[in-house]
C-alpha cells in the first residue's frame, strides 16, 4: 500500500480574532469535528465551536468523595477495629480528630482525579500525530493559530473543504497526510 490517505486539512490564521471568526464560519458551514489550535486558550472559542461543557468536574467530585470515604474508613477501622488503644483520653474514633486527615485525603484524591481525568479526556499522552509532520505547525506553541478539518468529518470533501478554508481567509492551506503506523 503506497497510496497515503489524507488525514485532513490545515489552515493558518494570523491572529486570535481571525481564528475565532473562522471557527464561527466553519461551524456555521456544518463542520462538527473541526479543531482549532492556539498557543493559549482563546476567550470565546468554546462558544464559537459550540462545544459541550467539560466533564472534568464530575471526575473531580467522584474522586474527592472517594478520598473522603477512604480517610474516614482508614481512621475509624485502624483506630477502633484493628488496633484499639486509648491514647490521651481520646475516644477511639471521633469526627473531630478525623477531620484533618479526611480533608487532606479528599483534596489529594480530587486533585489526582482532576489531573489524570483531564489528560485522559484529552487522550494524552500522545507522542505522535499527523499534524507533527507539517513543518509550519511547530509554531502553534509559539505564535501561530490554526484550524484543522479532519477527513473524518462528515462534511469533509478535499476540494470543497479546501475552497471553503480559502474563502474564510485561511493561509498556507495544507493537506495533512495520514502517517502509517
Amino acid at each position: 500500500m503506497t497510496e497515503s490517505k489524507s488525514w485532513g486539512l490545515l489552515a493558518e490564521f494570523p491572529n486570535p480574532a481571525r481564528l475565532l471568526k473562522a471557527a464561527q464560519a466553519t461551524h456555521a458551514a456544518g463542520y462538527r469535528r473541526f479543531e482549532t489550535f492556539s498557543p493559549f486558550p482563546i476567550h470565546g472559542m468554546d462558544e464559537a465551536m459550540e462545544l459541550p461543557g467539560s466533564k472534568v468536574p464530575w471526575i473531580t467530585l467522584a474522586a474527592g468523595l472517594m478520598g473522603m470515604a477512604t480517610g474516614l474508613a482508614l481512621q475509624w477501622w485502624s483506630g477502633s477495629v484493628a488496633y484499639p488503644l486509648v491514647i490521651g483520653g481520646k475516644p477511639l474514633f471521633a469526627w473531630e480528630f478525623a477531620l484533618p486527615i479526611t480533608f487532606e485525603l479528599s483534596i489529594l484524591f480530587a486533585s489526582f482525579g482532576t489531573v489524570l481525568g483531564m489528560f485522559a479526556l484529552n487522550k494524552l499522552p500522545r507522542p505522535n500525530h499527523p499534524l507533527d509532520y507539517v513543518p509550519r505547525f511547530k509554531k502553534v506553541t509559539d505564535d501561530a493559530f490554526f484550524l484543522a478539518i479532519p477527513a473524518s468529518d462528515e462534511q469533509f470533501d478535499l476540494e470543497a473543504s479546501k475552497a471553503f478554508l480559502e474563502s474564510i481567509g485561511g493561509e498556507h492551506i495544507t493537506v495533512v497526510e495520514e502517517q502509517n503506523g
Binding site: 483520653g89 473531630e96 480528630f97 477531620l99
Partner: protein, 398 residues
C-alpha cells in the same frame, strides 16, 4: 475593552418600589417594637434584655460587614465591586442608629453581664483580675469609642461617594483609597473589642483569642446575604439600575467564600478547645452541647456550613435568582442561630425560645430597614458617576 452600547441607566430607585419597601419596613418596625415594649412591661425584663442583645448584635454585625466591604473595596482598589457599593454604604450608615439601639443594653447591663456586679467581683479572684478591663465605666467608654469611630468612617465613605454622584471626579476615589488602610486597622480593632465586650464577656470567665475573628466572619456572611437580597430586590421587575447577573454572582460568591471562612474559624475554635480539654475553656462548649443546646450546635454545623456549601457551590446556583435568594435568606436565619448559640445559653440553662426574640428581631429589623431605605429617596441606588462603575457592570465572571 471595547465600549459596547451602554444601556440607558436610571440610577434612582423607582419611587413606587421604594414606597412599598418603606411601608413594609415601617409596619414591621412599629409592630415589632410595640410587641417588644409590651413584653418588657409585662415583666419579662431578663428575657427582654437577652432578646434585645440578640437583635442588636444581629443588625450591628450586618452594618459592620457593610463597612468592611466598603473599606476593602478601596483598600484593594477593586473596580468589580463598585456596582453594589452604594448598598453597603447605606447599610453602614445605620451604625449611629445602632448606637441608639445600644441604650437598652446599657440599661440592662446588670441583668446581662455578671461581671458588672460589685459583690460578684469581690468574691471571684478571676473577675478581680479582669476588673481593670471589665468594669462599667470602661465598658461605656469603649462602646462610645466604637460607635464614634464607626460613625465617622461610615459617614466619610458615604459622603465622598454621594458627592461623586454630582461631580464624577476621580479625586473622590483617591481620597477614599488614602484613608482605607487606617480605616481597616481601626475597623479590626474596634470590631474585636466590641465582640469581646458585648458577647464574649457574657461568660466572663471564658476566653478565646480567635473570638474577634469568629464574630467578624459571621458578620461578613450576613452582610453578603443582605447584599444579595437587596440586589435581587433592586433588579426584580423592570430595573434600570444597570446591575447584571454578574454582580449578583459576585455577591453570592463572596457569601460562599465567607461561609467557608466562618466554618474554618468556628472549627478552629471548637477543635482546639475540644482537643486540649482544659476545664476553663471547655465549659463554654459543655453548656452548648447539653440540655437541648446540642440541637442548636448541630443545626449550626449543618445549616451554617454543610447545606449552604453544597447548595451554593456550583456557579449555576449562584446565578439562579431563586436559589441565591433562598440561600441568602437561609444564611441570615443561620446568622441569628449563630448569635443565639453565643448569647442565649448564658440566659437559659435549657434550650428555650421566647416570642420576644422574634419581636425584637422584627422590630429592630423594621427600623433598620426603614432608615436604610430612606437613604435611597434622594440619593442614587448605584454610584453611577464613579469612573469604575461601567467596568463593574461589564465585569461578568461567566
Amino acid at each position: 475593552m471595547s465600549a459596547h452600547h451602554a444601556p440607558q441607566i436610571n440610577p434612582m430607585l423607582p419611587p413606587e418600589k421604594l414606597k412599598k419597601g418603606l411601608a413594609l419596613a415601617a409596619l414591621l418596625g412599629l409592630g415589632g417594637l410595640a410587641a417588644t415594649g409590651a413584653g418588657y412591661w409585662m415583666g419579662e425584663h431578663e428575657q427582654f434584655y437577652g432578646s434585645w442583645l440578640l437583635a442588636f448584635s444581629f443588625y450591628t454585625t450586618i452594618a459592620l460587614g457593610a463597612l468592611f466591604y466598603v473599606i476593602l473595596h478601596h483598600l484593594t482598589r477593586a473596580s468589580w465591586s463598585t456596582g453594589l457599593r452604594r448598598v453597603a454604604e447605606n447599610l453602614a450608615a445605620n451604625l449611629p442608629l445602632m448606637a441608639l439601639a445600644f441604650l437598652p443594653i446599657a440599661f440592662g447591663l446588670h441583668t446581662l453581664y455578671h461581671w458588672s456586679h460589685a459583690d460578684a467581683v469581690a468574691v471571684d479572684p478571676f473577675l478581680k483580675i479582669k476588673s481593670p478591663y471589665l468594669n462599667e465605666t470602661a465598658f461605656y467608654i469603649r462602646a462610645g469609642v466604637f460607635f464614634v469611630v464607626w460613625t465617622l468612617m461610615a459617614f466619610f465613605y458615604r459622603r465622598q461617594s454621594v458627592a461623586q454622584d454630582k461631580t464624577g471626579a476621580e479625586s473622590h476615589n483617591f481620597k477614599m483609597r488614602k484613608l482605607a488602610p487606617i480605616s481597616m486597622i481601626l475597623f479590626a480593632l474596634t470590631l474585636t473589642f466590641a465582640a469581646f465586650d458585648w458577647l464574649m464577656s457574657l461568660d466572663p470567665h471564658w476566653f478565646s483569642t480567635i473570638f474577634g475573628l469568629y464574630v467578624f466572619s459571621g458578620s461578613v456572611v450576613s452582610f453578603f446575604a443582605v447584599l444579595s437580597l437587596v440586589a435581587l430586590w433592586f433588579t426584580s421587575g423592570k430595573s434600570e439600575l444597570g446591575l447584571t447577573i454578574g454582580n449578583l454572582h459576585d455577591s453570592g460568591k463572596l457569601m460562599f467564600g465567607f461561609i467557608v471562612f466562618w466554618t474554618y474559624i468556628a472549627f478552629s475554635q471548637y477543635f482546639l478547645i475540644w482537643y486540649a480539654n482544659i476545664p476553663e475553656e471547655t465549659i463554654w462548649y459543655q453548656v452548648r452541647l447539653s440540655n437541648g443546646w446540642q440541637n442548636v450546635s448541630m443545626l449550626l454545623m449543618v445549616g451554617h456550613f454543610i447545606l449552604p456549601f453544597f447548595v451554593l457551590m456550583s456557579r449555576h446556583a449562584k446565578r439562579n435568582r431563586l436559589v441565591l435568594g433562598l440561600g441568602a435568606a437561609w444564611m441570615l436565619f443561620m446568622h441569628v442561630v449563630d448569635l443565639y448559640f453565643v448569647i442565649m445559653p448564658t440566659l437559659h440553662h435549657h434550650l428555650h425560645m421566647h416570642w420576644l426574640d422574634l419581636s425584637s428581631l422584627v422590630g429592630l429589623g423594621g427600623v433598620f430597614a426603614l432608615f436604610f431605605l430612606l437613604r435611597f429617596r434622594k440619593v442614587a441606588a448605584v454610584p453611577h458617576q464613579d469612573p469604575q462603575f461601567q467596568a463593574s457592570l461589564e465585569y461578568d465572571n461567566a
